[in-house]
Assembly symmetry: C2
Homo-oligomer: 337 residues x 2
């Protein structure tokens, strides 16, 4: 197994991305880690290592960088020597089995579509991630790859989410819900309503109807489908609230000597809670629908967070994700293809 | 001061709404509470009381009910004898100073616009609510009144949110942000980008640019503006996560004797945290932009929650909200009117 890592992406320091890659490489010796990026961003961090003696690490230099502010179309056309482009190309040319980047999401999607192409039957990639919920995990998609989805896109996302959940969680008929502003059928945005009508006709998708924002954490569905605009807001809002809760806990227990003592006693339990809430522990979202594995890391994740994103890529390789998706999507969407 | 309460709305039991109203009436003797609803939904809950001796409670019977599944246009045209219609009419005819309902949001907005009319310069009402954040409170709007806002609507929401925040929090130039999927200017949905360009031109609105979902809780702005579709998802997702965190805390401390003991010690602090997170404590959203005070309560709030919504109506009356809004909006939006 070989994973290409774009070390230039995001608002993140390359040093942290490389540290995460080195940790992964030392723990999974059978996985080849290839760092892709500017020489001056990689070399200083590897100079202390004797690379000749570490069999599962190598580098690929790139002299361009896709900036967070680059338009996707510009990144695609004018940055063919960028670390992002080269990392994805590794997957397209079968030199790597997956790539991980914390760079510009729009560019990642545009370059991914161009180099890897879409799985037949899927028009657009969707970003999917498992989120903790009362009874386990809930797969939410799209998390920001697409702004302005039509009903057909949403149906394809539902099919892909269902197949992924089936494959990873082993749930025979995952419950699939559509994110909406109300549970009654008349509410919601026009395309979401049309998608609901279409999903009811699909006997291979276990569509349970509309789910409101609070349903994400209450295990109302195994897969929740929405436009990338709404999904991104839901995800980021959750991250913000989780961070806020952690701050409130720290503050509440830091107020005075008594609460400090209480905090000390309760520390192990609170620490476990903090771990459960930490966005880093759920970092690494898959660009589903591409003919290859591309994992998007949060642009502001820590070493732990980026490590988690590499683990997601590793899991997707083991599950042969694009092959499973290709085989199942025709079966699920049927005559729509 | 007089507040009309629609006791029929929402998925809620009328008994809870009436209990909340009775509690408020007993605490604020100078405020007149008028229950509006079906006789059979009100009378049983008041029969134990000697109404003649309670000067600040009375009733107004309505023989129709706006259902959660009613289309707003139908509710407006065919349910003129509904509790919702009569409660809002109380405000229009100046028989009440505000009304509170937990019913169908779309219908509340449609009937509100029809009976109360809009403040000059504002095309659509927006639902606004203060949400807890690291440094105080953040006003988020729209929370679900409008699906599909154009740039002009968003600018009007920004102006109204800024005026409300100024009036309630006493902040001279509240920081106003636009909710978006990325902080870079090129990202986001088309109307949000246009709204950003328009807001930059307004010297009476302290526009700070785009804010992502996590910024809501991190005090990046005092007022955050978005489409009702996105705002509703952000709010409901937060409510779901807050509930999930409370469940996790209870579970973590309930695991074994040791953690139970730790939980007991930490209980007062955790209870305070739970109170801070409880959506009920932030219940009661104002339909901003109407020429009168209409407060929307969450359809599934408890007695405490509905009580909180009545308190919001009470606050808005004391602040003479519609008058302040009318006076300030022209000044803020200036030549746009």
């Amino acid at each position: 197994m070989r994973i290409a890592i774009d070390v230039m992406g995001g608002d993140q320091d390359s040093a942290e991305i490389i540290a995460a890659g080195l940790r992964f490489a030392s723990e999974f010796e059978q996985v080849q880690i290839r760092f892709v990026g500017r020489q001056e961003s990689i070399q200083p961090h590897l100079s202390a290592l004797n690379l000749a003696s570490i069999a599962n690490i190598d580098v690929l230099y790139a002299d361009q960088v896709v900036e967070m502010s680059d338009r996707p179309s510009l990144a695609l056309r004018q940055k063919k020597r960028s670390s992002m482009h080269l990392a994805i190309k590794q997957v397209a040319s079968n030199e790597s089995d997956a790539c991980v980047s914390s760079g510009n999401t729009g560019a990642l999607m545009a370059i991914g579509r161009h180099l890897l192409r879409m799985i037949p039957g899927v028009d657009r990639p969707a970003i999917i991630k498992a989120i903790p919920s009362t009874k386990g995990r809930c797969y939410l998609l799209d998390l920001g790859a697409n702004i302005g989805c039509d009903a057909e896109n949403l149906v394809q996302f539902a099919a892909m989410g269902s197949i992924l959940c089936q494959s990873i969680e082993g749930i025979a008929a995952p419950k699939v819900g559509l994110l909406n502003v109300g549970e009654e059928e008349i509410k919601g945005e026009a395309e979401v309503r049309i998608a609901a009508d279409l999903l009811k006709e699909h006997d291979k998708i276990n569509f349970i109807g509309f789910v409101e924002g609070d349903g994400i954490y209450q295990s109302e569905a195994d897969v929740i489908v929405c436009d990338g605009w709404v999904g991104n807001v839901a995800l980021k809002t959750s991250e913000g609230l989780a961070k806020f809760v952690s701050q409130m806990i720290a503050e509440a227990f830091g107020e005075n000597i008594l609460t400090k003592a209480q905090g000390l006693v309760a520390y192990p339990v609170l620490e476990k809670l903090n771990q459960q809430l930490r966005p880093d522990n759920y970092n690494g979202a898959i660009l589903l629908g591409l003919n290859g594995i591309v994992v998007k890391s949060h642009g502001r994740s820590t070493i732990d967070g980026f490590y988690q994103a590499i683990c997601e890529a590793h899991k997707a390789i083991k599950q042969q994700l694009p092959d499973v998706m290709k085989e199942s999507i025709e079966d699920v969407l049927g005559s729509d293809l």
